[in-house]
């Protein structure tokens, strides 16, 4: 046994003890190695010092401070979730109801009134959006100005996206509180 192995055993002995063979091997090494004997003594001192050091006590107000911050955080989360839900709901309504209705009206009138109005009034806004968010603008343009084939594809993409996002937010909001999660290997917790 060399010194490194001996020192590891000295440390291990402080945690979980050694087997008889390990104890004997370590004893043989320590009998001949002054340096390891010295470190063994120091490590025992360190172990005693750490064992005797008291556990720190938190102030009585700590849990209240924690819960105050959690409360603020939860309030912001709820606000964000409600806002997101409202925005998604409005967007879903526009894509699901308003746009098909406008397209139907536009098609039955036989003209291209919607496209013309959007081109003139929203042209500049669309150009700005396009430079910032080109893929999204392509989708929006197809939704608003596209012919039947482009429109249907874009409409489906937007609808799926919005429904998925909306369901995600709603599912988080209405998740049952006491649903049990299977945990076959759960052990009892040993609290300090």
């Amino acid at each position: 046994m060399d010194c490194d192995q001996a020192l590891e055993l000295i440390s291990q002995r402080l945690d979980e003890g050694l087997t008889l063979a390990q104890e004997q091997a370590l004893a043989r090494h320590l009998a001949t190695c002054l340096a390891c004997r010295h470190i063994a003594t120091l490590m025992a001192d360190v172990d005693a010092m750490l064992t005797q050091a008291p556990a720190a006590s938190a102030s009585a107000a700590l849990s209240e401070a924690v819960m105050a911050r959690v409360h603020r955080r939860a309030r912001v989360e709820r606000m964000v979730r409600r806002t997101l839900l409202a925005v998604l709901s409005v967007a879903l309504f526009i894509v699901g109801v308003v746009l098909p209705t406008m397209h139907a009206v536009d098609a039955s009138s036989g003209g291209n009134i919607l496209a013309l109005a959007l081109t003139q009034v929203g042209g500049q806004a669309l150009a700005l959006l396009e430079s910032l968010l080109r893929p999204m603008v392509t989708l929006v343009r197809a939704l608003l100005l596209g012919d039947s084939y482009q429109y249907v594809i874009a409409w489906l993409a937007a609808a799926v996206l919005l429904v998925t996002a909306w369901l995600g937010v709603v599912a988080r909001a209405i998740r049952p509180a006491r649903q049990r999660i299977p945990c076959p290997q759960r052990e009892s917790d040993g609290l300090v």
Partner: protein, 201 residues
């Protein structure tokens, strides 16, 4: 407190039930504060870190896997936060004079002798721990003040059991060398110390 009760609190807290989360805070504030105190070395920082750790627990509750022990998961979240905090920290190195001073506090303290000794021991330990790198500090804190086994420490730190054993050994040895150095005796066998002062990296 049973594990079933804790799991109920977790499930209710996941849905946003703050009262249920308050029960978890009450149950775990002591171990988490203790870990933060030993990692960061200051009561004020430990209180702040405890609050931040619980905020992280609150926001990460969805990621908790009930097959793990809740205490191990919470301590893991807290220890990661403390290590992040130490990485952000710059300086704060401890001098050998501080260790010397903490070993021999003046005896004219008006408090009772046992209280004085307790404070002295705590101060000495606190000072020594500041010399260790965060991952060594962490295993010492988990072993001595959370009474965790190698297996549990491995689960909390994400290291292997043999790495935990090795870190504990190196941490103890580093502290032994520091004590010997503070005594001025030195060690019979001069070896390079592993306890580099933390450089924030």
């Amino acid at each position: 407190m049973g594990a079933d009760q804790e799991l109920d609190w977790v499930l209710q807290a996941r849905r946003g039930d703050e009262h249920a989360f308050a029960q978890l805070v009450e149950a775990y504030q002591s171990p988490i504060y203790n870990l933060a105190y030993r990692m960061l070395g200051s009561a004020a920082e430990a209180e702040d870190a405890t609050q931040e750790a619980f905020i992280r627990v609150w926001t990460k509750l969805d990621t908790y896997d009930p097959s793990r022990k809740l205490s191990s998961w919470m301590l893991s979240v807290a220890s990661h936060y403390c290590i992040d905090r130490l990485r952000r920290r710059r300086g704060g190195q401890v001098s050998m004079e501080e260790i010397m001073a903490s070993r021999w506090l003046p005896a004219d303290d008006p408090k009772p002798e046992d209280t004085t000794l307790t404070l002295e021991r705590d101060e000495r330990v606190r000072t020594l721990l500041q010399f260790l790198q965060p991952q060594y500090r962490l295993v010492i804190a988990l072993r001595y003040w959370q009474d965790k086994s190698y297996t549990e420490i491995a689960a909390i730190t994400g290291a292997t059991e043999s790495a935990v054993k090795s870190r504990l050994h190196r941490a103890r040895r580093a502290m032994a060398e520091l004590l010997a150095e503070a005594d001025g005796a030195g060690l019979p066998e001069a070896e390079p110390a592993m306890y580099t002062d933390y450089q924030g990296g």
